[in-house]
Symmetry: C2
Subunit: 387 residues, 2 copies
């Protein structure tokens, strides 16, 4: 196994992209990443694409072929991977393994989802497919409902408040307002979150990440060759993946995601890093409670202290660890399969010092935390400056 670096990044505007098709979205992100890496498409050895449910959203499977073909990059092997909201994280991990193994040199890790302009089902009906359809969705548990159960339990057990959850949304929108690719580039107030329409108490509309279209891509290369392409490569120092129970009712506790804890442990161990060394992190804030549990699961604070940590401003840009400087899923948007890659795009951009107005000062070590469903899959990557 050899070290692997990110030598280029690309991302589309996230949002309701009514004028752009599925295949166009990904090509947009891919071309930006190729441009950024100074690599010609025909020198790519393989592509890994995270996508949750093109089958249900646009009635199109065989996503790897769609993308290789529409990119003009056939016969390059293109493999779709899926793990609900963690699909992008897995695409990055598989791309990492394929370069690390030596079987490939230049590899695209991409992610895409097109969630608007549906033909039949409603998004929330489709999103039941990332929870346990037989034991949760069929009996009426919605995806936000599952997170509301976790939120209630966290409030009961640790005294976490709705105000603390609202602070997550306020912070992420403040960051997202500085991100030209974010779906919602505007600040919101704590009062707005608390007074927004309830979705499933205690979670209100502004506690929930939106339905989004978008794509993102990374170009990976062997670390030893990275400087041939770019002056500021970012090295993937750690990767971790774990599976958890698909259903919430099978867990010992509702207030943590064991798959994310285990994925983080693997990634920290591989990178030889500790949580307090992380300067900047993209944490999977599908709901505000998910970010609070995420910072705890990653060891940024003690279990149960996540709400307080946010409230005290420790996760702001300029705080102890900047969490979701991109705006996170909440403000940047959450095109499901693209999210894990978009997280890595943001961390790489931060480590390269190219994040503009939302730049985290002296960011040297970053982390991505990507969770599938209500916790059935956890994927964590640790990235570091390559110079």
């Amino acid at each position: 196994m050899r070290d692997v670096a990110i030598i280029g990044t690309g991302i589309t505007k996230f949002g309701e992209l009514w004028d752009t098709t599925f295949r166009e979205i990904f090509v947009d992100a891919g071309v930006r990443a190729l441009d950024d890496s100074n690599v010609s498409g025909h020198n790519i050895d393989a592509m890994y694409i995270g996508n949750m449910s093109a089958g249900q959203f646009i009635k199109q499977e065989h996503v790897g072929s769609v993308i290789a073909d529409h990119s003009g990059l056939k016969p390059i092997p293109c493999t779709r991977v899926e793990a609900a909201c963690a699909s992008g994280g897995l695409a990055l991990r598989e791309a990492f393994i394929s370069v690390s193994s030596g079987i490939n040199d230049l590899v695209v890790a991409g992610g895409i989802e097109k969630m608007t302009d549906l033909l039949s089902d409603k998004p929330n009906g489709i999103l039941g497919a990332l929870s346990d359809r037989e034991w949760e969705a069929y009996v009426g548990a919605t995806y936000p409902g599952l997170h509301a159960l976790m939120a209630r339990r966290h409030m009961h057990k640790y005294g976490t408040t709705e105000e603390q959850m609202a602070e997550v949304a306020v912070k992420n929108h403040k960051n997202g307002a500085l991100n030209p690719y974010a779906q919602y580039q505007r600040e919101i107030s704590k009062e707005a979150v608390l007074k927004s329409a309830p979705v499933t108490t205690p979670l209100n509309t502004l506690d929930c990440s939106p339905i989004s279209d978008g794509g993102a891509a990374l170009i990976l290369a062997p670390a030893e060759k990275a400087k041939e392409y770019t002056d500021n490569p970012v090295v993937i120092k750690g990767t971790g993946q774990a599976s958890g129970t698909l259903s919430l009712h099978d867990r010992d506790s509702l207030t943590e995601i064991p798959a994310a804890v285990q994925a983080a442990e693997s990634a920290y161990e591989m990178a030889g890093r500790k949580p307090f060394e992380i300067d900047v992190a993209e944490v999977h804030d599908s709901f505000t409670i998910a970010e609070i549990m995420g910072v705890e699961d990653l060891g940024f604070c003690e279990k149960g202290e996540g709400g307080k940590m946010v409230e005290e401003g420790k996760t702001r840009i300029g705080g102890e660890v900047a969490v979701n400087p991109s705006g996170g899923l909440k403000s940047k948007g959450h095109p499901i399969g693209a999210t894990g890659i978009a997280q890595a795009v943001e961390i790489a951009t931060q480590l390269q010092g190219e994040a503009g107005k939302r730049q985290v000062e002296d960011a040297e070590i970053g982390l991505t935390h990507n969770v599938g469903g209500s916790g059935g899959t956890g994927v964590v990557h640790i990235l570091e400056r390559g110079d």
Copy 2:
């Protein structure tokens, strides 16, 4: 990169498995493979699962988590990969890469599809998702219809006949009648194929593979450690993957599958083998014409000679190269995501000399040929006896 061996295989009965759920089917195959390999589930490092469309068939995505959870094997990482009918082949390839890289030792490569007991859409509606939905399926091209176009062109260009296509079905049913896991364990006559109801001329019902449920699994290990687990390991000597155009109308020719040709070239080169050295092959006979094109694309005969090769008995058990001794997709069944793995299960079983009544004598070198959609993805593996 290090050599990788198959140390255990498992497969379920293929067919209409009305009494078995999606998750139970895979666990059945997985437990058989673990038993065969003498490995305890908890020593597995990772799982790769090929599945095309659980999202559309049973409204369940996040398939890796479903399987890791229901197998009792969490927190083991479990990754779903998808490339339409080539999903299983890609699962094998990714599992191979993960062992070859050194990141993992013991890895499950599995595949599953549950295509019966649908909730809403009909199978043929769902199968449009593996062709080009925008440019083919929406304008009325069905999946059998695309293959009928290829068949007509092959007949026009090379003089291939409906009788020759029927001979593929006759041979594969003869083999499948000897396979206790096959969906249709009965012989059929050439007349029966020719007189069966037309689906899309020139393809009749008995030219088409069926709708099936089923699962299959392999246990992979580093070749150097394989003998710790089994006396008769099978080594994966070559792997090749390529992307083609998703749509038929974008191809230079309708009578070959460039992605399969390129995948085969890669696999032959990696294994250091030539087509004439292959003793036994599982060839992707989703339709009878597909096997005829497949044996040509693999170099078992000259282009255009596939129909004649079948007619002359050269692809029978005991012929020049035994093609589809398992019964192939036609008679064994075609649970889409499982097919690529099931092909490797058959080849491994043949190389181990454990194929019972359908054993190919002195089989030492085998090949699997797995095609996604109408040719958007090709995956070829070359397997050899490990002793």
